[in-house]
Symmetry: C2
Subunit: 344 residues, 2 copies
Amino acid sequence: MSSWNVAVLGVTGAVGQEFLGLLEERKFPVGVLKPLASAKSAGSKIRFAGREIAIEEAREDSFQGIDLVLSSAGGSVSKKLAAHAVRAGALVVDNTSAFRMDPEVPLVVPEINPEDIARHKGIIANPNCSTIIMLVPVSPLRQLAKIRRIVVSTYQSASGAGAKAMRELENQSREILEGKAPTRQVFPHQIAFNLFSHNSAVDPETGFCEEETKMINETAKIFHEPVSVFPTCVRVPVMRAHSESIWVEFEQEVSLEAVRKVFEKAPGLKLLDDRQKNHFPMPIEASGKDDILVGRLRRDPSNPKALSLFVSGDQLRKGAALNAVQIAEIALQKRPAAKGSSAL
Amino acid sequence: MSSWNVAVLGVTGAVGQEFLGLLEERKFPVGVLKPLASAKSAGSKIRFAGREIAIEEAREDSFQGIDLVLSSAGGSVSKKLAAHAVRAGALVVDNTSAFRMDPEVPLVVPEINPEDIARHKGIIANPNCSTIIMLVPVSPLRQLAKIRRIVVSTYQSASGAGAKAMRELENQSREILEGKAPTRQVFPHQIAFNLFSHNSAVDPETGFCEEETKMINETAKIFHEPVSVFPTCVRVPVMRAHSESIWVEFEQEVSLEAVRKVFEKAPGLKLLDDRQKNHFPMPIEASGKDDILVGRLRRDPSNPKALSLFVSGDQLRKGAALNAVQIAEIALQKRPAAKGSSAL
C-alpha cells in the first residue's frame, strides 16, 4: 500500500497535537512522520504510532522527501516556510490565515467545495474555525433557497487561542475559586467566569475584529459568491468547542421539515434538536467529535423567510485539524504516492 | 422625614439579598423591615442597617402595616400572596413572571415607561432580566428611527437561576479542576466550562423556550407596540451578569454618531466602546454596577438600516432588584407615607 511522508509543522501546539491523533485514528498512510516546531522545542519527543520521535527545528531545508505538510505554526512562520516546502515537492495544507484570501490558493471545506482542491499550486488553505463551524450546517441549506443574510453570534472556546489559552482558563478558574486574583498571560481580559469580544485586532474604522472579517470574507470565497454575513465574535470560558447562534434569512420561505431532511443527509453534521428534553448542541458534547452538532431549529414568527440554528463544533477537530486532514486525504488521492516508502 | 414599612418576600434568595443591599445603599426610607421567606428559613436572621432581624414565614397575614412588598419568591408564591398584600394596603413590586402579562398590571422599566406606574392597582411587575438588559440600551434608539426587527443572542449568567445555581457553577468548576465528575442539582446540564440553551421549558410547537417568549411579549408590552424580536437564550458559565449580542434593523438609516450621542445621554447606560484597546462590555465589569454597559457599535455593511450592539448588565441589580427598587421609589413618591412610622 502506498504511503506518504508527512511533516507536522507546529507539532507542539493544540492543533499540532490534534494532527497527530487524527493521522493515527484515521489510519492515514503515513510513511515517515517528521514533527517540526520552533528551535526551543527541538529535541523533545512526541509519540506517534507507538514510537517516540524527536522534534526537529522547522527550517527552510526541513522538507526534502516530504509529501505533505500539515501546518499550524502561526501565520508568519507559514508564510516563510510554505514556499520552501512547495519547492521541495510537498503539498502544504495550511491552517493559518497566511494564504486564505490569496486568489491562487484554494480555501476548502471538503463538505462544501472539494472541487477547489484540484486547482492548488502546492498550498491549500484551511478556513478559520468559526467559518467552518458556521458553514458546514449553513451550506447545505442553499439546496432549499438562496441565502439573503446571516446574522451570527459566536461563543468561542479558549482552544481557539491555543494550548496556552486553555491552560490559562484552567489556571484562572482555580485562582478565582481559591480567592486569588487571576493571572493574565494569553488573553487581554480575564477568561474564567467571564466573556469578552474576540481578542483579535479591531478595525478602528468599522469596529469589526479580524475574526469577524475572516468569517465574512472566507464565506464568500468558499461559496464562490458574495453573502451578507454579520458576525459578532465572543470568547467564552469553554475549553475546546465553539458554538454559534445563527439566524438565516432566505430569498424564499423554507420549511423546518425541509431543513431537517437536509440536515439528516448532510455530511459532517449531527442533528440534535430535542425540544422535549431541552437537549440541544453543547460544547461538552461536541468536544472530541468529528461531527458538528446542529439544533434549536426555529422559524422566525415575524419573518417567514428566516429561521435560526444553534451549533457546537470541536474547534480543534473540524474547526482546524480534522478539516485539514480531510483536505489532505482528498488531495493525495489524486497524487502518486511519491516518496512515501523511501527513507528521508 | 416620611418612611415606609417594607417587606422583602423571598429574602434568602439571590435577588432578595440584593434587595436588602440596595435599600441600604440607596438610603430608601425604610421604617420597619420585614424579611419573609418559606417556613424552613423562618427564625434565621438577616442583617439590615446594622441590625439583625429574624426572618418570618411568608403567609397570607404577613402584610398588616406594610407599605411596600418587594417580591422575588417564585411565581406560584407571588400569585398566592400578592392579593393578600394588596388587600392589606401594600404596593407589591413583583419580580416573578406571575403578573407580567396581566393587562391589569403595569410592566415597567423606569427608564422607558415610568408613566405606566401610575395606573397600578396594587401590583407592578418587574420585567424579565434579559428583557430589561436588552431594552435599556435599545429603547432610546427609538428617538432616531422606528425599529423594524431585533435579532438577539444572550449570554446569561448562573445568577438568573438563583443563588443555588451560582454555587453549582462554583462547585462544578472545582470538581472538574480536581478531575471529578461534576454534580448536577439545579441545571439540567453541566454549566461549568460549558453552555446550553436556556433551561426554561421549550414550546414543542415553536421551539421557543419561555425565556425567549418573555423577551418577545414583554418588549411589546413595555413599548406599547408590537416589535419583531427574535431571541436565542443561552446559559454561559458566568456568575452574575448577562450579556447580549443585539442586531437591530430600523425603518431608516441611523448613523453611529447619532447612536453614540443618544447613549451618552440615556439614563441607566454606560458607553464602553474602545476599539483601540479592544475593551467592550464584559460581565465582570458590569457586575455590581447599576449601569448597563453598551458597546461594540457597528454598522452592518450589507444593510445600511442595521447596526449592532453588545451589552452586559448585572442580572441581579438592573436585571432584577435595582429595577424593582427604582419602580418602588417612583411609585411611593406619589403616595402618602402611610404606616411607615407606626410600629407593626
